[in-house]
Symmetry: C2
């Protein structure tokens, strides 16, 4: 069983978060949605209120294979500045686990110091804060165990890439077909 941690902070981008959760659960992953501030309900950037599975502080991080961060300016800023998600990003990276971030959330990887000399992408403009090896011509960038993507319209491709690295290409292709990704 592959286990994926999705931290939600107030102001997360809901298409991005839900694409990650939905697609990884379709693949069979155990996806744990955890609130950064410990509240049961977290409100997205456009006021969709999602109930979380637990508080991030209550998570046993050792049992996970991946941490995947949705964007949204406010949510990503919290992921970049709050001590707990920063500690977890560093820990997952140090243990050779997958670390994934989309849209504004790569700023949280940068804040954790793990994007140095790593090709990445992000929401256009956020790269100004990050510098380094910004890649603007790809929707999803896989750099060893660090996976980044650009924004709401690339969220499905991003989530399918997370499936690919955890479950293999045939599973990702099967899900893409079922979600009609081939037709877009």
């Amino acid at each position: 069983m592959k286990k994926v941690l999705v931290p939600l902070a107030k102001g997360f981008e809901e298409i991005e978060a839900v694409s990650i959760i939905d697609v990884l659960r379709r693949a069979g992953a155990d996806v744990v949605v955890a609130s950064v501030d410990g509240s049961e309900c977290v409100c997205s950037s456009h006021n969709v209120r999602v109930l979380t599975d637990c508080a991030l502080s209550a998570v046993d991080s050792s049992s996970f294979d991946m941490i995947a961060l949705p964007g949204g300016s406010e949510g990503a800023t919290t992921l970049a500045t709050d001590a707990l998600p920063q500690k977890l990003i560093k820990e997952f990276h140090a243990k050779g686990k997958f670390v994934a971030a989309i849209c504004a959330a790569p700023i949280a990887l940068h804040a954790a110091g793990i994007l140095q000399n790593v090709p990445y992408t992000c929401y256009p403009g956020c790269n100004a804060q990050i510098g380094g090896l910004y890649t603007e011509d790809k929707n999803v960038v896989v750099s060893d165990k660090i996976i980044t993507s650009r924004g709401p319209a690339t969220a499905l491709a991003f989530a399918l890439t997370l499936v690919e690295v955890l479950f293999g290409t045939p599973k990702a292709k099967e899900l893409a077909a079922g979600m009609l990704k081939t037709c877009c």
Copy 2:
């Protein structure tokens, strides 16, 4: 102010629902998320628990411009068989308001009797239940006030089309650019 009603029934497809809500709110619509069974929290097809704004039975339907239905097999079946969403679909259509459905949800429009002689699309296979003027080569079909689409991967295009019919093409193009739709 444009007002859009999004009924959620247990087992709704979460990428589709959230794309509708997120994109229409970005456009400035007043989007009301209403639970078909009256519960405050509705669970999606992949166990994302979303808090609704109100019960569908408490909605004053006269104030809305559009009803937009997410898919998901279980949720769409409820929309097709429960008396209240069926009454609302018929009422919106009879009053010349927009009626929109994606994925499996066009079966609810069919059940309400409003898809006769209307070109539509839906999740591949659901057309077997509906018959009529199924269009398989388009991701979004606009037939006067009835707008239909195919599945999770077409949800963003569907939501942007809802913005287009309510707010005009420039607003839809502006949002598409901001969500990086042009890059996919």
